[in-house]
Each structure stands twice: as structure tokens, then as C-alpha cells.
Symmetry: C2
Subunit: 146 residues, 2 copies
DNA sequence: TGTTGTATGCAAATTAGTTGCATGTCAATT
DNA sequence: AATTGACATGCAACTAATTTGCATACAACA
């Protein structure tokens, strides 16, 4: 739960109409402590208000395009969505459990990447750098001990 | 083209029968200078010898399981496959062009990640760390200049 | 009042990958 | 030689995740 983020504000300052569906989707992403799949988000919204699956996908794309939300590629097939770095949310990387398929946020600063050499020599344009740590989460480790 | 890798050998030393299909798939991955999708690999094999799509998927999974090949998650939906680090191939990370969807290999050493802090504090088990740089490749930059 | 733009819904299509089951091949076993 | 079992492959059908096309609704605007 993020008490500092006003999701309606975030939408508006990105130049987007803060429709109820958009606010709901963004709230769910922002209030969750780990990134969610489109399906997760859909079923969560659905629990309280009817919404179409396609609408969720369209909102997610919009939010990603406007950099309010980050699309994270998991080891599995479904993309995960998390709040993009902003004043209240420091940039950080993610862990993907290959056993249960859950993603977790890593502490900002727990990984240190230096990309100076690349930025000096690379001939294309760099937009973002995604780091994903794959492995087995604590829970899954625990439950595999008999 | 890698003159140093004997793909039949690689398969055998991983304890796998070097069947013609497996050798072909591994050769295509190894001789390519950037990672390919399953579909790419399928059509490449197909051009000279008949093979089933499913066989390609099964071989890819086998090769990944035996660590001869690495599965890389691209910004898009399809996984890309590249040769896993071995005596002739230094570990390196990848670039994904969001415009043309092509992946490229970055120079080994152009990115430097220190994960000590994470490894000290993380409560799960870390298997691998994947870094993907997203952006626009040189070719796409060039062709967008009018 | 008519027109345009934007948000959403619904059905169908597409993409990428997986599963179930049949067949062929080869080597070991009877 | 016939039998068995372990793979490797093929083919058809399936599933999951996402996308597309088209219809509707509503609000702002001319
Ligand atoms: Zn887990
Ligand atoms: Zn996160
Ligand atoms: Zn490109
Ligand atoms: Zn590579």
C-alpha cells in the first residue's frame, strides 16, 4: 500500500484522463508489493467491478507507454507489471521464482550495474536496462524440505 | 560461424545423443551471431531438411536443460536462444531493439554487475541473472532519419 | 444538431508454446 | 529370431497470453 501516491494525479500529470478503470488498474499495481500479470490485475479488478480483459490489456499498454508502469519480462510467458520509478518509488530490479512463478522486488541498491563502458561504445540508443534474477524463492525452498 | 565449437562433441559431453536434428539446431544457434527465436530456428532447419516444429521446441528445451543453450527473454513475446557460455564463448548480455525486435549480443565486459550485496542478503537461491538492454538499434536509428 | 475523439466491450484471430498419443529405430534380453 | 524397453520424432489438438476488428456509448465541440 502506498500512501504517498495519488494515482489520479499520476494519470493526469501524464496527460491521461483518470477514468475509473485506469485508476483501478494503476492502484492495484501501485498497492501491490510485487509485480502482477495482466491476468492477476484483471481478476483483482473484476472482484469488485465488471471490466473487460481487453480493457485491462489496453490500459496496461497505455500506462507502459506513458511510463507510469513498467512491463517486466518474467522467466515464464506472461509479462508482469510494476509501478515505474517515481518520486515515491526508487528504481529497483526483480527476482523471478522459477518454481512458483512469482516475481519479487529486490531492494533498490542491492544490485549495482555500471554501464558506462557500454554507453560509450554502443552505437544504438539505450532506453532502459532490465535485470532479472532467476532462482527459487524462500517459500519454495522451505516447502521442498521434507 | 564458430570454427572452434564441435557441436556433436558438445552434445556428447552433455550426455546427449548427437542426433542429426539436435546437431542441426545447435549448429544454427552456435553459428549465428545473435540469438534466434524458436520460429527462426525452425524455418532455418526447414530450408534444408524437413523437421517438425514440436521437435524444435523439444530440442531447445533439452539444450537449455543441459546448459548448452541459454533461453533469453526478449522485450517481445518470443524467447530467444543463444549458445550458453563455454570455453569458446564468453558470457555476455544482450540488447533488444524495440523497433525491429532483433536481439544482439553485447561485448563481454561491456556491462559490469556486482551482485555481492544481493547474494549476502537474499534469502532464496539464485540460479542466474539476466540483463537485457532495450532500445533502438543502429539500423533502425538510421532508417528513421528521413 | 451533427461530428469527432476517446474509452470500453465483445467476438474472433493470432502467436508462441505444450500435450497426448502413434510410430520408427536401435540395442539389450529372452 | 522374437520381445521388450528406451528414446527420438511426427502429427493433431490444445492452451495461454495477447491482439485485432468492429460496435457502442458518451462527452466536447462546431
Ligand atoms: Zn517460489
Ligand atoms: Zn518492483
Ligand atoms: Zn532495430
Ligand atoms: Zn549472445
Amino acid at each position: 500500500m502506498c500512501v504517498n501516491c495519488d494515482y489520479r494525479d499520476l494519470l493526469e500529470s501524464a496527460g491521461l484522463e483518470p477514468t475509473t478503470n485506469r485508476v483501478r488498474v494503476l492502484e492495484i499495481i501501485g498497492n501491490n508489493q510485487f509485480p502482477l500479470t495482466a491476468a492477476d490485475i484483471f481478476t483483482t479488478v473484476e472482484r469488485s467491478h465488471s471490466i473487460n480483459r481487453v480493457t485491462v490489456y489496453r490500459i496496461l499498454e497505455l500506462l507502459v507507454d506513458h511510463k507510469l508502469v513498467e512491463r517486466l519480462s518474467a522467466g515464464g510467458r506472461a509479462a508482469h507489471y510494476g509501478l515505474a520509478p517515481n518520486d515515491n518509488h526508487a528504481p529497483h530490479h526483480h527476482f523471478f521464482c522459477t518454481r512458483c512463478g512469482r516475481m519479487d522486488c529486490l531492494n533498490p541498491g542491492s544490485l549495482d550495474l555500471s554501464s558506462d563502458r557500454l554507453r560509450k561504445t554502443f552505437s544504438g540508443e539505450i532506453e532502459r536496462i532490465e535485470i532479472r534474477v532467476d532462482g527459487v524463492c524462500r517459500n519454495c525452498l522451505k516447502s521442498s524440505v521434507h
